[in-house]
Amino acid sequence: KRQAFLKVFNEVNTHMRKIFALLSPGGEAYLVLQNPDDPFAGGVDINASPEGKKVKSPRAMSGGEKSLTTLSFMFAIQQVSPAPFYLLDEIDAFLDPANVQRVAELISDLSEKWQFIVVSLRDVMIARAKTLIGVYSREGISNTIRLNLEDLVKVLTSEGVELE
């Protein structure tokens, strides 16, 4: 039981270290057992230092830093036993454009092996996708339409919205 747990724990940790280093260059994040001698007597902490300096207290971390740390944990868990497809709904809500770009690139790489279906409101994320599915509603009725990137530009600018 303990062996099985430690095996998975170490796998998640290995993936998390690698992924966080991609999402937060120069930084590091990893899991820590609160009770290394008896894992089940404690929980699992995350130690994160986004800029590679001293570990940041979780309370003081910014919304985006917590988001990147949490996303690294999520992707790491997925990588331990990958599913053939993933649906991620607005995981980029608290990321600045540069970080959205890093997550988009990670998803783009992973999507060579596993299918990703990503709901996003962020152009930086959307621009990285291979296939764009536009959802719209008229009088409360939803429908979809295949879009290419030129359509997207037209849709966003015709609504008088400057591109982000």
Partner: protein, 164 residues
């Protein structure tokens, strides 16, 4: 194996006509205005994969998943999920594997696999062999990342335990 398409019939805002959403391998992005129906697509996936909590799908009861519009409410809703199984990763000798689920106004419903009515457990076991698990992290709903970010260390350990 990957998701080839989703066919929605009277499911939430996708009614009263049938709507077919086509996906490709790789990186798909679902885009559109607030309230257009993007997260309803995620709910459709969770529904057809056997989710048992209507509140998770943002409906008071399962009958609340049936399209409710100005011209009265249909008697049933259904979702069909078509997998492209050309690589035979799924243990069925067919290029397309179809999982279906419907729900009636009285809240009852059926599951189907390749057109045959089956039990929910048969769907769950079959998906298991393709490494698709409802409580894995392969469908990440809107807001889950923020919830995960608040997670306490004991819950985090339980997530890892369940994977072991």
């Amino acid at each position: 194996v990957f998701v080839e398409k989703l066919v929605l019939r009277n499911f939430k805002s996708f009614g009263p006509r049938k709507v077919t959403i086509n996906f490709t391998k790789g990186f798909n992005a679902i885009v559109g205005p607030n309230g257009s129906g993007k997260s309803n697509v995620a709910d459709a996936l969770l529904f057809v994969l056997g989710n048992l909590s209507s509140k998770t799908l943002r409906a008071e009861t399962f009958s609340g998943l049936i399209y409710d519009g100005p011209h009265g409410k249909p008697t049933s809703a259904s979702v069909s999920l078509v997998f492209d199984n050309s690589n035979r990763e799924m243990l069925i000798d067919a290029d397309e594997v179809v999982i279906g689920r419907d729900v009636l106004s009285n809240g009852r419903g059926r599951y189907k696999l390749q057109g045959r009515t089956v039990t929910r457990w048969q769907i769950i076991d079959f998906l298991d062999t393709a490494n698709i698990h409802l409580d894995g992290f392969n469908i990440v709903q809107q807001g889950l990342i923020a919830q995960l970010a608040q997670m306490d260390p004991l819950e985090r350990r339980k997530i890892i335990e369940r994977m072991a």
